[in-house]
């Protein structure tokens, strides 16, 4: 292996870790919603898209093709992405949280798609199908590969910080309350818990992470268009990651994200080698492979690779 090849592998690894990390943030968000609280959010793509566009509009240089840009620092872009997602998730929560879980799934699919359609069609703000380009990558002034490595480190630090925060909250009365509502809402109500309020809180917390992930993705690929927010590569993949990794387990969520992203990106290499007449069907083939993999994982590990574990008396004492 010559040094150019080694360099290529290194860049591939950095990209795997960066993308895996961004997915891990979404997975942690879905874990708060579904894993802890039992909320079936099937509109991940919508919140991801909102976060991506907010930071894109705020941090790009002034442009005539879309709203803004306001040339603000990346940190402000990302924080705003989270804030805007929070407000929108809160409104969606007020509207839908009373629905039973299967209906919530349907409602969130619809709402997620509505967000995406709005973003696609409000050309004055988002440049429509052509998307927003030249989104700044933090650490851009560094030389390749250090800019990429810097961004990877940023993503991994964010994953780590959120992991510790969410794990701490999970083990606190907060997490216990969320899971009590997941397990039996009647009993939770009889114990004085305001089920709707708590569900909205979980929905907002999870969605904020999805918005943050969207923002990070926009900076990473420096471009955001409707294609980058496809439900297939967001909603579907994140769900598979969480279920395979272990719903209710933060480490499982992170493991699932990195593992599935590695496999997903490997299937691209694989389908890239298909003969031309099959290559058009590559996307379906990849979904099929991922679905098959999920089946195999769940056959062997019913609760995912790292299943949920409840805190025991001894751990907490």
């Amino acid at each position: 292996m010559d040094s150019a090849q080694a360099y290529g592998y290194m860049l591939y690894f950095v990209s795997l870790m960066t993308m895996g990390g961004i997915y891990a943030i979404m997975c942690l968000g879905l874990n708060i919603q579904w894993g802890f609280t039992g909320l079936f959010n099937a509109g991940i793509a919508g919140f991801f898209a909102i976060g991506a566009y907010v930071t894109a509009i705020l941090t790009t240089a002034a442009s005539t093709s879309h709203l803004g840009g306001y040339d603000l620092p990346v940190a402000i872009g990302l924080i705003s992405a989270m804030a805007v997602t929070a407000v929108i998730a809160w409104l969606v929560g007020l509207l839908c949280i009373r629905l039973r879980s299967d209906y919530l799934a349907i409602a969130t699919i619809g709402i997620g798609e509505i967000f995406r359609l709005i973003l696609k069609n409000e050309i004055w703000a988002t440049n429509g199908a052509r998307g927003i380009a030249k989104i700044p990558l933090p650490f851009e002034s560094l030389n390749e590969p250090w800019n990429k490595i810097g961004f990877m480190m940023l993503v991994l630090v964010i994953v780590t910080v959120f992991y510790f925060l969410i794990e701490r909250a999970r083990l606190a009365p907060w997490g216990r309350l969320m899971t009590a509502i997941r397990e039996n809402e009647y009993s939770a109500r009889a114990a004085g818990k305001n089920v709707e309020r708590v569900r909205i809180e979980a929905f907002v917390c999870g969605s904020v992470l999805m918005g943050l992930a969207g923002g990070l993705m926009a900076h990473y690929i420096k471009f955001i268009g409707p294609g980058a927010t496809e439900p297939l590569t967001t909603t579907f993949l994140v769900w598979v990651m969480l279920i395979a990794g272990g719903s209710g387990n933060n480490r499982g969520a992170i493991l699932g994200a990195f593992l599935l992203w590695a496999i997903w990106s490997f299937t691209e290499v694989l389908t890239g080698r298909l003969p031309a007449e099959l290559a058009v069907k590559a996307a379906y083939f990849r979904i099929f492979l991922i679905g098959l993999l999920l089946q195999i994982v769940l056959q062997r590990y019913a609760g995912g690779i790292l299943p949920e574990r409840r805190p025991s008396l001894n751990i907490k004492a």
Binding site: L165, R168, A169, A172, P173, W174, G175, R176, L177, T179, A180, E183, N184, Y186, S187, A188, R189, A190, A191, G192, K193, N194, V195, E201, C205, E308, R310, P311, S312, L313, N314, K316, A317
Partner: protein, 257 residues
């Protein structure tokens, strides 16, 4: 303390509760008996805010609480248990109890993350209390077991345990003795008496076990077909021909053949 005033509740064409009125006096242990399907559980559901009545109202400590949501009623001092146990399935027995107490500031995300001293102190308080309750209910050996794996009787005890974790003014117990072994049943009755005397909790107990009702309850309310048939102390109730006819029949311990 608690007044049920002309409550009616139907499900489709079926009238479960039909113009039912009664009063539960403060510090009493009131029994609520009647045949299957008499509407006892439905009345509990209405009182505790799990269902809204079609007509009629509920007053509690001088305030109209009709139609208030269950979680608000808990904070006003009403705790109920379920006839069919409603445990937090995939949570441990200990957690099942620790969920219940009010005023857990650690349920707020920011307090949970910052975890200031008072959150830790409160958490320890709640845990110690839960451990005591489990000790009392003889469930200590399953403290870290998932509640969904418990036996039917153990789940029934856990229901009671959750009620003991709240600090309510009134506890509505829906068949607390069903499926519980006889020795423990005696202890249970003793505990209810003690909580009533020492902590001044008011109880309303639905039971089909007449020994338990006779031991604990005064007065006893008899419901039949959604309405109150009569009310009185256990001896009066037992001697009443209408009650014998509608519910107790002739074969109940202590009743004339």
């Amino acid at each position: 303390m608690l007044t049920v005033d002309s409550i009616s509740k139907s499900f489709g064409g079926l009238t479960a509760v039909n113009n039912c009125s009664f009063t539960i006096e403060a510090h009493s242990i009131t029994g609520l008996i009647g045949p299957n399907g008499a509407g006892k559980t439905t009345i509990f559901n209405v009182i505790a805010g799990a269902m809204k009545p079609d007509t009629g109202g509920v007053q509690f400590q001088g305030r109209n609480i009709t139609g208030q949501p269950a979680h608000k009623l808990f904070h006003l001092g009403i705790m109920r248990t379920f006839q069919i146990p409603q445990e937090f399935f995939a949570m441990t027995v200990l957690e099942n109890l620790m969920v219940v107490p009010a005023a857990q500031s650690g349920e707020n995300l920011f307090y949970a993350l910052l975890s200031p001293g008072n959150v830790t102190v409160r958490e320890k308080e709640v845990r110690d209390r839960a451990v005591d309750v489990l000790d009392f209910l003889r469930l200590t050996h399953v403290i870290d077991e998932l509640a969904g794996n418990l036996s039917g009787g153990q789940k029934k005890l856990l229901e009671l345990g959750r009620a003991m974790m709240a600090d309510p003014d009134i506890i509505l117990l829906d068949e607390p003795g069903a499926g519980v072994n006889p020795t423990l049943l005696g202890d249970l009755a003793e505990m209810i008496e003690r909580l009533n005397k020492e902590r001044h909790y008011t109880f309303c107990i639905i039971e089909h076990n007449m020994d338990m009702i006779a031991r604990l309850c005064d007065p006893v309310i008899v419901m039949v077909e959604g309405a109150v048939l009569m009310q009185g102390d256990m001896n009066t109730v037992r001697a009443d021909p209408r009650v014998l006819d509608a519910y107790l029949g002739g074969d109940v311990h202590g009743a004339p053949n």
